[in-house]
């Protein structure tokens, strides 16, 4: 059964929506996320929607629900990577997503959450940092993958090259 992966990064949870969301997948994501927030004590949730070509009221409502749910569990939600055409369409559609904060890129999203949530590495979930950029490599790798499809600044890393072979920008 399909599931949208939820990655843990410090005290944040990272969700990248790469597939067309349908009812069951969206409900499963809500369930999985709330369980992971409680299990990990995460203080923030980053949802990457840069792969989504459209956001209709169904997906918008799901993002709102996740934000409300997370807030009840003491975690902030930031949606990152919305495409410009999607933003223009949402405004015209008249869809407002109450409680959903947005940031242009994953980096900005991290900064936004970082203001309230300290991204720390605890000993038990240590992540190697062999590229020496002071960030966990998992993050660098993710940022590179983002950069690979034009989602983030290439500067996000020492890990350039790792995103190669990924998708090319399709915006």
């Amino acid at each position: 059964m399909d599931r949208i992966p939820i990655l843990k990064m410090g005290n944040l949870l990272l969700v990248s929506i790469q597939v067309d969301l349908h009812d069951q997948l969206a409900l499963d994501l809500q369930d999985d996320l709330s369980e992971r927030i409680v299990a990990t004590g995460a203080r923030g949730v980053l949802i990457d929607i840069s792969a989504l070509e459209i956001v209709d009221s169904f997906i918008g409502r799901m993002l709102s629900t996740i934000a409300s749910l997370s807030r009840l569990l003491d975690a902030e939600t930031v949606v990152v990577g919305m495409r410009p055409a999607v933003a223009i369409t949402l405004v015209e559609l008249g869809l407002y997503m109450p409680g959903v904060r947005t940031a242009l890129t994953l980096e900005h999203g991290l900064t936004l959450l970082g203001a309230e949530v300290r991204v720390s590495r605890s000993d038990e979930d240590e992540i190697d940092d062999d590229d020496g950029d002071g960030e966990p490599d998992m993050l660098a790798g993710y940022a590179a993958a983002q950069a690979g499809r034009g989602g983030a600044e290439p500067a996000a890393t020492g890990a350039a090259g790792r995103g190669d072979g990924g998708r090319t920008g399709d915006r």
Partner: protein, 151 residues
């Protein structure tokens, strides 16, 4: 019938591609609505709509397809490329044989919702397209026709 002022009538001559018929049925709605989005995107590209207009048309179709499923109990979408002599456009017609909408004026009122949605389906879609007409009869069904023209 309620339509945008200046919208062309359904019977008006337009040339373009042969219409494609796409069922929107409750069974495997996931696949169906996704398929609707893919088809609309493909024709919007073929009609040379800008990226923003493609996105608006696909989003409107997604909302209407969901309406067809959720409120109409399933139905179909007919889609084709139309040409009014000056511009190309994409026309999509969503038809269901569901319960119909008793009060169209009310259904098209900003913020109105039957309860389970956010009230964006019809009014939101109407803002995203260039032409919007709706026909609905209680007990017979609902037909929504939308057109997005290239600039």
């Amino acid at each position: 019938m309620i339509g945008n002022p200046g919208g062309s009538l359904p019977g008006r001559e337009m040339t373009g591609t042969d219409p494609q018929r796409h069922p929107i049925v409750t069974e495997s709605d996931v696949v169906r609505v996704r398929r609707v989005r893919q088809v609309v995107r493909a024709l919007a590209v073929a009609a040379k709509l800008s990226l923003v207009d493609q996105t608006k048309m696909v989003t409107a179709a997604s909302e209407l397809a969901r309406n067809t499923l959720v409120y109409g109990g399933g139905g179909e979408m007919m889609i084709d490329i139309v040409d009014n002599g000056r511009r190309h456009g994409v026309r999509a017609v969503f038809t269901d044989t569901g319960p119909g909408i008793p009060d169209l004026g009310l259904a098209l009122t900003e913020g109105w919702t039957s309860g389970s949605g956010l009230g964006l389906g019809l009014t939101g879609s109407r803002r995203l397209v260039d032409e919007f007409t709706i026909d609905s009869s209680p007990g017979v069904g609902t037909t929504v026709r939308v057109v997005k023209w290239s600039r």
